[in-house]
């Protein structure tokens, strides 16, 4: 991978917090770890610069888990390895390789203002959002709220100065280098560029979130 060793930080009796250089290293390490987790790994929780490796210490000692993480960081994912797409240790290795397609009505409240701020037309902004190959980097902020990143998304978007107290479910927004969609009504400071009717969060489903870490996502413009 990068050749730079991640830092392993103590996080209690059943977890290790792995600090990486940046999000790219987190994503690569997540793939490497999810490809072949040993028994006793409870879950992998990626974040922007860190990744929590949660284990059952009665099955997998923390020292053994630490050794596994160091090897994975050094060697990267196996050549034929396929990461499980829900971020969970999955001994079967079965995973959907299909991207989630999210249809978006690009008439968000902040679209015109944001395009103006970025010095592009609203049409161009939408076209880039649709063209980008997004991936769920991690879940944050609220259950099922996936932070999406894309190598081919060029914009860095400032958050709202004052967050909205109420963002409706299905609102599609951008902030920083991320895009995302609000799974449930909540407050929010992201710039809203559209909305989707896709069910992003269903607590009676398993997994309850449509956007799970590692999953590929494409946006498509909904035609009225």
């Amino acid at each position: 991978m990068t050749g730079r060793e991640p830092r392993l930080l103590p996080s209690g009796r059943s977890a290790i917090l792995v600090e990486c250089v940046g999000l790219d290293e987190v994503l690569a390490l997540h793939d490497a770890l999810a490809a072949d987790p040993p028994e006793g790994v409870v879950e992998l929780v990626p974040a922007a610069r860190t990744l929590l490796v949660a284990v059952d210490p009665d099955v997998l000692a923390l020292e053994s888990a630490a050794g596994w993480v160091r090897r994975a960081a050094r060697d990267g994912p196996p050549a034929d390895g396929r990461a499980t797409r829900d971020g969970r240790a999955d001994p079967t290795g079965e995973a959907s390789t299909d991207d989630v397609v999210i249809e978006v009505d690009y008439r968000g409240e902040d679209l015109a203002g944001l395009a103006d701020h970025l010095g592009v037309s609203p049409e161009h902004l939408v076209a880039r959002h649709v063209a980008a190959r997004w991936r769920v980097a991690f879940i944050g902020f609220a259950p099922g709220f996936g932070y999406l990143v894309a190598d081919d998304w060029p914009f860095d978007v400032p958050r709202l100065d004052v967050a909205r107290t109420r963002v409706p479910p299905g609102a599609v927004g951008v902030a920083g280098a991320f895009s995302g969609a609000y799974p449930r009504e909540s407050p929010g400071g992201w710039r809203l560029i559209g909305s989707t009717g896709v069910a992003l969060w269903d607590p009676l489903a398993d997994p309850p979130a449509l956007l799970v870490p590692g999953r590929g996502v494409r946006f498509r413009e909904a035609r009225a």
């Binding site: 930080l9 103590p10 996080s11 209690g12 009796r13 059943s14 977890a15 917090l17 600090e19 409870v42 879950e43 992998l44 929780v45 990626p46 974040a47 922007a48 610069r49 860190t50 990744l51 929590l52 949660a54 829900d86 971020g87 969970r88 991690f138 879940i139 944050g140 902020f141 609220a142 259950p143 099922g144 709220f145 607590p203 009676l204 398993d206 997994p207 309850p208 979130a209 799970v212 870490p213």
Partner: protein
């Protein structure tokens, strides 16, 4: 099917089992009874498996009436437990007849009663658990007066014959909790880390299932500002920019941007669940 009618409540009453671990990567906290040992004990007293759902009751004031005879047990906090007006006591299995009511008095020790009924509380499961997550709003709605709860099928095991040896009421005085090192201990000064271990702390009145803020000396930060949010674990002690520590609990946000400087040992979290606002807490190295 036995139905349990809630006739009155005092403090917050929630359905809780042992939670839904392993879903932080989806943004879902583990939730579950804060005093896990107390729930397991209450269940064992009535012959249930450890993880069956019961009621977590803050401070008391609950009155329950089943429509059929029912075994139950109350653990966790220590206080008066009455059936049809007669005292049966906590930490033991007792039987309430159809039409009679169980009443929990104000807790004398501890903060959270755990009530198990034989067969368990049979509310719908959400994400593999019947626990109410108060922050995310997942799981059975908080229990109020008039609510009718279904009781699950009787377990195969009989109600065990026990004497009172299972009773360990929570301490009324200072409580000592064991601390493990945290990932960001270097974000506070050495003096602050020493102060964390050596000071007398009090649990804030704002403590809830999300976290317990601690009142005591200010823990001086060595590094100002916030981190990029990172995953948290139960018992994590985060320190705000103003130097205020908070212990994150079962319904915590699964990621947080305040540095975690120490972690309450999992073996001490049940004790912490029973510490009342204003009660003294001290820390020792695990």
């Amino acid at each position: 099917m036995t139905l349990l009618r809630v006739e009155a409540t005092g403090g917050l009453v929630l359905v809780q089992d042992l939670g839904r671990p392993g879903r932080a990567h989806l943004g879902v906290a583990p939730s579950g009874a804060l005093d896990r040992g107390a729930l397991a004990l209450a269940n064992r007293l009535v012959g249930n498996p450890d993880g069956v759902a019961g009621l977590e009751v803050v401070l008391g004031g609950l009155r329950l009436a089943p429509d059929r005879d029912l075994w139950f047990a109350v653990t966790g906090a220590w206080g008066s437990v009455r059936v049809a007006g007669r005292e049966v006591g906590p930490y033991r299995a007792a039987r309430v007849r159809a039409g009679e009511a169980v009443e929990l008095g104000s807790a004398e020790r501890g903060l959270r009663y755990l009530v198990a009924v034989r067969g368990g509380i049979d509310e719908p499961m959400v994400l593999g658990s019947r626990s109410r997550d108060t922050l995310a709003g997942i799981g059975p709605e908080p229990v109020g007066p008039g609510r009718v709860l279904a009781v699950g099928r009787e377990p195969a095991a009989s109600v065990p014959l026990l004497d009172d040896d299972a009773a360990y009421p929570p301490p009324g005085g200072p409580v000592a909790l064991a601390l493990l090192p945290g990932p960001r201990a270097d974000w506070v000064t050495d003096a602050a880390l020493a102060a964390l271990h050596e000071s007398r702390w009090r649990v804030s009145a704002s403590a809830d299932r999300v976290g317990a803020r601690l009142e005591g000396p200010t823990l001086e930060r060595r590094v100002p500002g916030e981190l990029v949010s990172e995953p948290t674990v139960a018992g994590a002690i985060q320190v705000t920019g103003a130097g205020v520590p908070t212990v994150l609990l079962a319904d915590r946000p699964v990621t947080g941007g305040y540095p975690v400087v120490a972690i309450v040992d999992p073996g001490s979290l049940d004790l912490l669940a029973q510490v009342r606002p204003g009660q003294e807490v001290r820390f020792r190295h695990a």
